[in-house]
Amino acid sequence: MAAEQAKVDPMHQFAIEPLFGSAHWEIAGYNIAFTNSVLWMVISAVALWIFVAGGMKRELVPGRWQMAVESFTGFIDDLLEANVGKEGKKYVPYIFSLFMFILFANVLGLVPLPLAMAGIHPFTTTSHFTLTGVLAIISFLIVLVVGFWKHKLHFFSLFVPHGTPLPMIPMIFVIELVSFLVRPFSLGLRLFVAMMAGHVLLEVLASFVIDASNAGAGYGLLIGIPSFVLMLAICALELLVAAIQAYVFALLSSLYINDAENLH
């Protein structure tokens, strides 16, 4: 039995593999292989499209599906209304896309596919900082563009809070500038780390179950069952984290946009 000792690599789930022999697709020398990560991005986008399309019946008295879609758009609308104000309305499409895409990617990455035996397992694209980082940079660029477009060079006053004593201004300016520039990193890393940590934890607990069962029935019962119960609890927690991280990403993006729209 020792030969069949499961070698569970908790990081394997994050490995990116090209699919459909697309490993060598290139544009201008850059590899654009259609990987499993891309596949799950597509699945998230298509699922989101189906979800929103189901709410497009435009009925006066909404059905359940339409109600669900409208509650999401209303949620984002309220979020922007509360954080940015009247000008926030025009960011609803962006924040909605951001929130829903991340939410769908997070949740779909948690789906325990019964095809795992065949080597097909869900892939959490949001556990890659190449993805979360790009989304964070897009949010950051929107803040920069809107800020400089609306306030021109006056936008730099964002880095000098009201009532700063004159001698402190250079130092405060540098500190605020650094904290401003760190935003895209913190935004991207937060989502990537939260998603990765949860999945690693689940995988490690799963390996406990497998290894304990392989070591004997006694170990299997003693270690495997508590581990499995813990996995269930953490799965529930992960669903919560998936929603919260999407919300945090959208919330922080809207707060940063508020800085750009209204300065202080």
Partner: protein, 164 residues
């Protein structure tokens, strides 16, 4: 950690496809579908608001009509009460008049009766005087044997009567 180990070989495909897919999500779903969904919500809110306003208007109108009706009703009632009061006053006046007329008639009858009584009394007094003077005349004649003329007897009697 594949995220870092595979970074060099996968970053371009990750970024490229993310931009393509997120572009699709943003332009098709965010820009294309979300405004329609929100438009529906707005339309519904507007409709509900309009319906509520219409209901409020109808309610206000009903209240105003009821108020007007109540006013009219009160006026009618006041009019009716005024009529009743007027009729009462008229009736009272009429009965007053009748009563006073009757009183007058009664007073007149009483006055007449009193006058008659007074006349009878005066006549009786005059008769008494005559009888008294004749009686005095006769008494004087019998007692003193003096014949007294009727005139002096009558004046003597009158004197006594008026003193008495």
């Amino acid at each position: 950690m594949p995220q870092i180990a595979q970074l060099a070989e996968t970053y371009s495909s990750q970024i490229f496809w993310l931009l393509v897919i997120f572009g699709f999500v943003f332009f098709v779903i965010g820009k294309g579908m979300v405004p329609k969904v929100m438009g529906t919500v707005e339309l519904r809110d507007k409709q509900i608001g309009a319906d509520l306003a219409a209901a409020q208007d109808a309610r206000n109108q009903a209240n105003a009509e009821e108020e007007a009706w109540r006013k009219r009703e009160n006026e009618n009632r006041a009019q009716a009460q005024a009529l009743v009061a007027q009729a009462k006053v008229d009736a009272a006046a009429a009965s007053e008049k009748k009563l006073s007329a009757a009183q007058k008639r009664i007073d007149k009858k009483m006055a007449d009766a009193e006058a008659k009584i007074a006349d009878a009394r005066a006549a009786a007094l005059v008769e008494l005087e005559t009888v008294a003077s004749e009686a005095a005349q006769t008494i004087v004649e019998k007692l003193a044997g003096v014949s007294v003329p009727a005139a002096s007897a009558s004046s003597a009697v009158k004197k006594v009567l008026s003193n008495g």
